[in-house]
């Protein structure tokens, strides 16, 4: 069973639909025991960082998530919350990745909204994906680049499009909204 963490905001349904289409059983949940028992965990994110962290604390998920051993995928805000700090609401986050989440400078249109390609990809999630492929992004804050960066995207400045450390994976883009190539990334994760 694939646990999809529910935290009250956002569109978890499209993630569930995408995962089910690939033939996996899902459960949308914030129950600690269910998440602990799941084969894999997906943490989709839209919304605001400090509100989301408050909710995770309320449910005890801030303590549970860093202890999980199964493959874990944070999407969009989900990836950002795996970093150590976000400028959005000056929020202390989960600290899996030793990186800061910063606001895009207002030198171009913000949010970064739409389809963009990745550069310097080096993660098992990208099998069957080429450098010309595009993924759907929508965000006003970005994860810095660091040693856990497994691909970059360039908008205003280069930032971490994907991150990985041990069993923790993150994508800034929305694989569930990135057409067939996005499904391929999800499938690669689900088959890890």
């Amino acid at each position: 069973m694939i646990a999809i963490i529910d935290y009250g905001a956002g569109n978890v349904k499209s993630v569930e639909n995408a995962v089910r289409k690939l033939g996996f059983e899902t459960k949308i949940t914030s129950n600690l025991e269910e998440i602990k028992q799941a084969d894999k965990v997906i943490f989709p994110g839209v919304g605001e960082a400090s509100t989301a962290m408050k909710y995770l604390k309320l449910k005890g998920l801030d303590v549970l998530i860093p202890t999980l051993k199964q493959a874990f995928l944070g999407i969009c805000l989900g990836q950002q919350l795996l970093c150590k700090f976000s400028e959005e609401g000056n929020t202390k986050c989960l600290g899996i990745f030793d990186l800061k989440v910063k606001q895009f400078p207002a030198t171009d249109i913000v949010p970064h909204m739409g389809w963009n390609n990745l550069i310097k990809t080096k993660t098992s999630l990208f099998e069957g994906v080429s450098d010309e492929d595009n993924f759907y992004f929508v965000h006003s804050y970005y994860c810095e680049i660091g040693e856990n960066t497994t691909s970059e995207c360039d908008y205003i400045l280069p930032f971490s499009a994907t991150l990985q450390k041990d069993n923790f994976y993150g994508t800034q883009f929305h694989p569930e909204k990135s057409g067939d190539i996005g499904s391929k990334i999800l499938e690669n994760f689900l088959k890890l």
Binding site: A106, W115, N116, Y136, F137, D154, S183
Partner: protein, 250 residues
């Protein structure tokens, strides 16, 4: 590089697709789910559905439609039309919509933009603006273009940006339905002061119109309806044409 978005718009009435010319006179253009799937296969980058149903039964049908779309569509889609409360938004997002578009309700009660942004994030708030040029000034119209307001479009864009909108869907009433090309004058004028992504809407008639709007304005998306519904332009052909004209396209 961020790609420019081609966005078909499907007007929905009682669960069916329709498209008016200059907001008057509707023609049936088919089943929304089938049309949406066809557009995704053709390479659409996003989809917009505008519900023009007025009845309560029609709104319930809309939620069912959003649920069906969410199962079938793996690219982002926006739902607009008749949204006037945070509860409306919650129901649509829960059913699987990615964004909601608000128009008249935001003009009547601007705090709505803020309430939606705070609860669900700026990324899901598209403010749709119908604008018309009167004596050299661009004014906001509401109620499907029937009522003129005293709001200047440029001021309204600034206001909704401050309130937390994530994107502006800007429809030129002067150009909508004419197929004479996008309203580049108005779009340039507004985009000068707008930090948000703008979707250009109204006037698309031929492929060159899209090249023009993307090279002459900062619009990051271009929306059209009937030219796609009636197969006058195929999205895959359009995107090939744009690539040849050096526009960044997926």
């Amino acid at each position: 590089m961020l790609k420019k978005r081609i966005i078909p718009c499907l007007d929905i009435k009682d669960g069916r697709t329709v498209k008016g010319i200059n907001f008057i006179g509707l023609r049936d253009a088919g089943d929304p789910v089938e049309l949406a799937k066809k557009y995704v296969n053709d390479g659409a980058d996003e989809l917009v559905f505008l519900d023009i149903t007025a009845t309560l039964e029609g709104r319930k049908t809309l939620i069912e439609l959003v649920e069906k779309l969410s199962l079938e569509i793996n690219i982002p889609f926006t739902i607009g039309g008749g949204i006037s409360s945070v509860d409306d938004v919650e129901a649509l997002l829960k059913a699987g919509a990615d964004k909601v578009s608000i128009n008249s309700a935001a003009v009547r009660r601007p705090e709505l933009v803020q309430e939606i942004a705070q609860q669900f994030g700026n990324q899901c708030v598209v403010v749709a603006i119908d604008t018309k040029n009167i004596d050299g000034e661009d004014y906001v119209f509401i109620n499907g273009g029937k009522i003129k307001t005293e709001l200047k479009t440029i001021d309204w864009v600034k206001t909704v940006t401050e309130l937390g909108a994530g994107e502006i869907l800007l429809t030129s009433m002067d150009f909508d339905g004419t197929k004479n090309g996008f309203d580049t004058r108005m779009l340039k004028n507004i985009s000068q002061i707008c930090q948000l992504p703008i979707i250009a809407s109204g006037g698309a008639g031929k492929m060159e119109d899209f090249t023009e709007v993307f090279s002459e304005t900062t619009a990051t998306g271009a929306l059209a309806a009937s030219i796609f519904h009636f197969n006058e332009i195929k999205i895959s052909d359009l995107k090939e044409n744009l690539k040849q004209n050096k526009i960044a396209i997926r």
